[in-house]
């Protein structure tokens, strides 16, 4: 009957919180996760709260000061900290608004993909048989089909709107979650604690949602963090091709596309939104890696 003193000291806290603390502590020991996490939080906070500090209309044109360079370059001014584009629109304001578009589309699309993929993967893995076959063959079709082609054709038919983009990106990505979840379910189904609950007389719903789902959430969470970065890139790619959110809403992808023509005169038009994309993706990926390590108990053990 030996329970170590450290765990005795913590037992006054509710169990859920203790688990969260343990995960947080192990995440905190991970330098890149801390950097990535901090950046992600900063980017998200900026996207939400920037109108409090920077109230410039990203659509307002000032044709007299078109292609103004950033403030640190000769000819730049504090009126346009990151310069202006070919129509004299403020680049900083456009990047900030663009972050809202990118992040909200990506989050919503991942939410769609996670819900659809997790549900289908759970059902396919748990019930198996014909249902499993049907779901997984459909998944194979999705995987075999070139994603960009699919998205472009759907957007071309339905038209590019925020909702359509979210649905298309989400549906393109559900397969990844369905496969991961199905694999985890197959192995969890064999575990004795699931069998124990079955022996107690638990029904399917209880087995799935109480015993299996909570145990697959961490791989799904890690996957979602990594995929969100991908979706941001896809969304930028679609916008670049003119298939994204319809103009005039600024998006990072469209800023790249529009700035491309002026790359020799105004480097900042493509470089700055490109940098925004890069930093965001990097931050998310760093955080995702750390999260994976923190949630994987095997790695946690070796980390001490």
């Amino acid at each position: 009957m030996s329970i170590s003193d450290t765990s005795r000291a913590r037992t006054s806290l509710p169990p859920g919180i203790r688990l969260a603390i343990a995960t947080g502590r192990s995440l905190g020991g991970h330098t890149s996760a801390v950097i990535g996490g901090t950046l992600v939080v900063l980017i998200a906070l900026t996207a939400i709260f920037f109108p409090l500090f920077y109230q410039v209309d990203p659509l307002e044109q000032d044709l007299l000061s078109r292609l103004t360079p950033p403030v640190w370059q000769e000819g730049g001014s504090w009126a346009y900290p990151l310069g202006t584009d070919n129509l004299g629109r403020d680049v900083l304001a456009r990047i900030l608004y663009g972050s809202r578009v990118s992040l909200s589309i990506a989050t919503a699309a991942v939410a769609v993909a996670v819900s659809a993929g997790t549900l289908l993967g759970l059902v396919a893995g748990y019930f198996g048989g014909r249902l499993d076959n049907v779901v997984m063959r459909v998944a194979d079709v999705f995987l075999a089909y070139p994603f960009m082609l699919l998205t472009i054709s759907v957007i071309a038919v339905l038209g590019g709107s925020l909702i359509n983009l979210v649905i298309v990106l989400g549906l393109a990505d559900w397969v990844v979650y369905a496969r991961t979840v199905r694999g985890s379910v197959l192995s969890l189904k064999q575990r004795e604690f699931v069998e124990a609950s079955r022996a107690l007389g638990a029904r399917h719903r209880r087995l799935i949602f109480r015993h299996i789902l909570p145990n697959i959430l961490s791989p799904v969470l890690v996957l979602a963090t990594v995929r969100i970065a991908n979706i941001i890139i896809w969304e930028s790619g679609l916008s670049f091709l003119g298939m994204g959110v319809p103009p005039p809403d600024p998006t990072w992808g469209r800023m790249l596309a529009e700035g491309r023509a002026y790359i020799s005169q105004a480097w900042w038009l493509v470089t700055l939104p490109g940098l925004a994309i890069m930093i965001t993706i990097l931050a998310i990926n760093l955080f995702g890696d750390g999260l994976r390590d923190a949630l994987d108990p095997r790695i946690r053990k070796t980390a001490g």
Partner: protein
């Protein structure tokens, strides 16, 4: 005492497809026609090597695995005819304890959630009633109610096994199927858990179906033993009789493989030769004959039926068929019931590589 559980000719086959295009399948005879009885408040040990089908048999009794055929009567009712509601009702009375104390508790749930689960499923109770019952049950199995808010990983193997037992007892069952309940534990902890199981049996009037491979464990806690080999029961006997005087050559091998701890009591270790045949393709006749030191010609031809050779002692072996024994009595074989160690009879009818 009345029979709580009667199992008759229980079979579980698995079919293995040979290939994508070939329509043929191979049959795995995991459990191949076993019968046994379990009385109330009794402990029956199901022993055998790994892969002999003992776990499959145990799980089939609770219908955690659907048996292929056979009859299981629990409390006089036919378990295999139960619909899902009847089955849920039966779950109150027949529970299971698992081998792996690390795998049998959901790592994401607290002990309270684990131990209260049976009540959530079967009873209508308020949260505080459930918690109170769970706390009492933890005390019964030798843990403390304060442990309710911890997670399984904060416990040792023995403690976790106690949690598993507490969960199984919450609904006041009459039968507990225990699948190797102590084999994953340290030896020093094994005895504690076995003692606990013994106490609980007296206190709650439980019957145990104990699946084990360790004869030491079986001897400690069981009243009767059924020895399984390749999906069949080859011998059943009260535990002391079985260990003092094994009848079936396989049992003999198992018993002689148990180490003797007393330094002066060195006995001959006969052990078992050869490997268990594959249940995909079990040997004809007696399944043990390729490994049996006393095999006779008839052993590879006829499957020996289960015979009662003495009070409560059943064995499926041609050696114990009076007529066959008479006709071959000129040859040496252990005709006597009740020898401690196997006779040495080098090479007597040993067949090697008999597995076709």
């Amino acid at each position: 005492m009345p029979e709580l559980l009667q199992v008759r000719d229980l079979r579980k086959y698995y079919w293995k497809k040979l290939g994508l295009l070939r329509p043929t399948t191979q049959t795995v005879h995991a459990v191949d026609g076993i019968s046994f009885d379990l009385r109330e408040r009794e402990t029956l040990g199901l022993v055998g090597e790994s892969g002999c089908g003992k776990s499959t048999a145990g799980r089939s009794v609770l219908r955690l695995i659907e048996p292929t055929s056979g009859e299981i009567s629990f409390n006089g009712r036919d378990v295999l005819k139960f619909d899902s509601e009847n089955l849920r009702a039966m779950r109150r009375e027949a529970q299971m304890v698992f081998q792996d104390p690390f795998g049998s508790l959901n790592p994401r749930l607290t002990v309270a959630q684990i131990v209260e689960e049976p009540l959530v499923i079967h009873e209508r109770m308020t949260g505080s009633e459930r918690r109170e019952r769970a706390g009492e049950m933890l005390a019964t199995v030798g843990l403390r109610p304060e442990h309710l808010d911890r997670f399984p990983h904060e416990f040792s193997g023995g403690q976790r096994q106690r949690i598993g037992i507490a969960r199984a007892l919450m609904l006041n069952p009459r039968l507990l199927v225990a699948d190797e309940p102590v084999s994953a534990l340290d030896v020093s902890v094994q005895a504690q858990v076995l003692n606990l199981m013994g106490d609980l049996q007296e206190r709650f009037g439980l019957a145990y179906l104990l699946i084990a491979h360790d004869l030491g464990v079986v001897r400690y806690i069981c009243h009767r033993v059924a020895v399984m080999y390749l999906g069949e029961i080859v011998e059943t006997a009260p535990v002391d009789d079985l260990i003092r005087s094994p009848l079936h050559p396989y049992t003999e091998g198992l018993v002689s493989a148990v180490p003797v701890t007393h330094p002066r009591l060195r006995h001959r270790r006969e052990g078992l030769r050869g490997e268990v045949a594959s249940p995909l393709n079990p040997p004809a006749g007696c399944r043990f004959h390729p490994r049996c030191p006393y095999a006779m010609p008839i052993c590879s031809e006829q499957r020996p039926p289960m015979r009662e050779v003495a009070d409560q002692r059943h064995v499926a072996c041609h050696l114990h068929d009076a007529e066959i024994a008479k006709s071959t009595s000129s040859k040496e074989f252990p005709a006597s019931v009740g020898k401690n160690s196997p006779q040495s009879n080098p090479g007597a009818g040993i067949r090697k590589g008999g597995n076709p």
